[in-house]
Structures are given as C-alpha cells and as structure tokens.
C-alpha cells in the first residue's frame, strides 16, 4: 500500500503525486509501478505508471500522471485522490528500460510529451550521481505550457555542462522562443542526436507513433539497434 503524501502541478494536464511507500526495495531509473484501484462494489482497475523520482531507496516515490480526459484511471489519480489516501501500488517493475549511473556510455534521451517521465528519473539519477558522461535530452511538447518539468530541466541544463537539453514545440511557440518548432524529424535528430560513432545508450519514450518515427530515424542515422531502448504508450488509432 502507498499513501498520498504530496501533489505538484506540472502543467495544466499533468500532475506529480508523491507516495509514501513502506517496504520499498528501491528502484532503478526507468522502472514503473502497477497501481490497482478497487471500487466499493469490488470492481478493480489496474494500470502501469512510470516512476519519476530518481532511482534508489527513498521512502517517497513520485509518479507523474497525465490526465487523459476519457481515461478510467488517470483522472481519478490527478483529481480524485486526496492527501492521506491509500492505494495499492506494486513494484518496481521492468528490468530493461533502465539506466544505472555506472553506465559509461554517452546518454541520449528522446521524449514525446509525458514520455519524459521515466527519462526524468534517469536524468535525476544522473544528476545525483558522479556520472558526467556527455548526454542530451531532446524533448518534444505541444506548447510551451505543456513542457513537463520545464523549470527543473532548465536548472539541470544550467548547472551541468556535460548535459544539454533541446526542446521542440509542435503546436506553436511564444515569441523569443529559442528552441525548435516542429515535430522531431530526421534533420532534427541528425542535428541533436549524439553521433552514432559515440555509441550512445538511447532511451526513447512517448506516444506510439512518435517512438516508431524516432527509432526508425535513429537506425537510419546509423545508431546501433541494441543501443536503442523504447517505451511506447497510448492509442495507435487502429480501431476496428
């Protein structure tokens, strides 16, 4: 069981929820948890959410949840929970989409929307560690106000010369915006992805189509298949 300990609004539709967890064995950056909600009639819903807080054994873990308006679970998590509520939370889960600070490879993170959440866990873990192998985050968001963790990312970029962050906005940018202003494409990856010759460890997380596109283009740029770890979420639109 986990107890709601704090809330933080990240964007108009994204909220971070901190849970106090007992008997937490610790997690690796990139792992997720399963949440199970039970109604009074016994009806249950289960979903997986990425852990946003850094890897380790802290007594609090943070999940960052995007409110999907027609979703069954996410609106309850973002709007229905109150401080002190308890929910069933199980984890950590997943042993592949993970990063450890002793990893010596350059690090390339590519995020689409709330796909930045597990990558933020990696980034926070790296920031707490002594790892200063060159790295970069390419982060695609809809609008300026939709950038999850914007201020914290700015602080990371300002405080660490070995890690750079590039934002792109796909649905319009404020005046004086200095980032990119289109969907991630081959040219953008050619410009910002670390050179394939450096054999970076690559993590791509975002909506299905975003990840498909980015992974294909990274292969086309000569990146090694085994170096690319992906996590896809959301609908594919292939309804029938």
């Amino acid at each position: 069981m986990a107890t709601v300990a704090a809330f933080r609004d990240e964007t108009p539709s994204v909220k971070t929820i901190a849970f106090a967890v007992s008997q937490w064995a610790g997690h690796l950056a990139g792992q997720h948890v399963d949440i199970r909600l039970t109604g009074e009639d016994g009806y249950q819903a289960e979903r997986s959410y990425s852990i946003a807080s850094p890897g380790g054994t802290a007594a609090l873990i943070e999940l960052t949840v995007e409110r999907i308006s027609d979703g069954e679970v996410s609106p309850f998590l973002t709007d229905g929970l109150a401080l002190g509520d308890t929910i069933e939370l199980r984890g950590p889960i997943g042993g592949y989409f993970t990063w450890r600070p002793e990893n010596p490879s350059p690090l390339l993170l590519v995020a689409g929307g709330s796909g930045v959440v597990p990558l933020m866990s990696i980034l926070r873990t790296r920031n707490k560690s002594a790892n200063r192998v060159p790295g970069r985050l390419l982060c695609s968001s809809r609008r300026f106000e939709d950038i999850v963790y914007r201020e914290e990312l700015d602080r990371f970029a300002a405080s660490d010369n070995s890690f750079s962050i590039v934002h792109t906005l796909t649905r319009g940018a404020p005046t004086a915006w200095r980032g990119e202003t289109r969907r991630v494409d081959t040219q953008m990856l050619a410009k910002y992805a670390l050179p394939a010759a450096q054999k970076p460890r690559i993590f791509v997380c975002g909506p299905t189509l975003f990840v498909e596109t980015v992974a294909d283009q990274l292969l086309a740029l000569g990146h090694q298949e085994t170096g690319i770890k992906t996590e896809r979420f959301g609908p594919t639109g292939e309804k029938r």
């Binding site: 399963d34 199970r36 909600l37 039970t38 929970l81 069933e88 299905t208 498909e212 609908p235 309804k239």
Partner: protein, 205 residues
C-alpha cells in the same frame, strides 16, 4: 481487498464480456504497440523460419514455402501484460502442429521451445502450450498481412498466455530440454504467464 476511497471506475467497457476479461485487464478496441526496441523490417526475400533442436537445424522454410503450408484461421481474445485485452481478434497462419508435421516430426523431441526473433527478442514456451491447435505462427491479421509494428511478416500467436509470449518477427523455434527464461522472463516477468492466474511478474504464484 482494500477499497480505494472515491473510486468508481467506468466498468462499461467490459459489460457483457466480463467472463472473457482476465483479472486486472481492461478491454480496448485499439491495437496498442509494445516493443522493447525499434520495429524490425525483414524483407520477405531474406525471411525464413527454422525449426531447431538445441541449435541444430531440423527444418527450414523460405517465405514461399512457409506460405504453402496448411493455413488455419483463428479468432481469439488476446491479453497484454500491460493490462489491455482485445476481444475477437482474427488471425491466419500455420499451426505449430502443422509446422511439426511439415518437418516430419510425429512428436516433440523436448518439452520446451525458445522462440528467437529478429532484433534478438526471445521467449520460452512449454511444448504443451503450442500443440493441439493452441498456437500458430500467424502471417495475417484481419485478413491482411500483419503490419510490421504488430510483428509482421510472421509472429507467434499463443493467445492463452500473456501476449509477450506471442513473439513478433519470429524466425526460429528451438526445442530445448530445460525451461530457460527468454527476454522478459529474465527481466522480472513470469516464466509462464497465464493471464487467468494473473502471472505477470516473476514471483506471482
């Protein structure tokens, strides 16, 4: 079970189909894509399927030869460990029984199989879960060639187990003596993966 204060849930999704939805699953009409790495795109000219025992070749089929094997249609529900269930999915392909027959095997030489795929993915399966019409290598979904994102040109279909067992881009079935864990089975997921017993993770009963 502990009640979650204020949670009602939607429930409508599973009305009329609740006995077909394993615990912890929800029904989707979408067809989500879950893959640990990039999508594989092997041209049909260089595709082949191999049946092996302990790494030694028993039989191999080119795409043309494989398409000429007996075709079976199967409509079934599928259950992904990431919690979605999709009802009444329609597949066509070659059953494991027909693959064995085409290789001239009257019985399996070992109790387990490791499926090997393009991209390096593997998954382990008991032979008992493949025979008697329980599994096929599917080449068609909804009467169309399976899209690459969903494992085309050919994927395993073992629908009574969680769908990570239905490996995409399968190229090699290797009989083995021991139930050696595959890719996800070595990384925290259950060695067998029965959705009705909710065997998601390593320590689930």
């Amino acid at each position: 079970m502990p009640i979650t204060r204020g949670f009602k849930g939607r429930q409508t999704e599973t009305v009329g189909a609740r006995d077909r939805v394993p615990p912890g699953q929800y029904v989707t009409r979408d067809f989500p894509v879950l893959t640990a790495g990039p999508t594989q795109r092997t041209p049909l000219e260089s595709w082949s399927l191999s049946l092996q025992r302990g790494g030694e070749l028993i039989s191999r089929w080119s795409w043309k030869e494989f398409e000429a094997l007996p075709q079976t249609e199967h409509t079934t529900d599928i259950h992904c460990v990431t919690k979605w269930t999709k009802l009444d999915t329609r597949w066509r392909g070659v059953t494991f029984d027909d693959i064995m027959k085409a290789a001239g095997l009257s019985s399996a030489p070992n109790m387990y199989v490791m499926a090997h795929c393009d991209g390096g993915y593997t998954t382990n399966l008991p032979v008992a879960d493949l025979v008697d019409g329980k599994a096929m290598i599917a080449t068609h979904f909804d009467n169309m060639p399976i899209p690459t994102t969903h494992g085309g040109p050919a994927r395993l279909l073992v629908p009574h187990l969680y769908f990570w067992k239905s490996a995409k881009w399968v190229r090699r079935l290797d009989f083995m003596e021991a139930n050696t864990p595959g890719f996800w089975e070595s990384m925290g997921y259950h060695i067998y993966g029965d959705p009705w017993r909710e065997q998601r993770y390593t320590n689930d009963a």
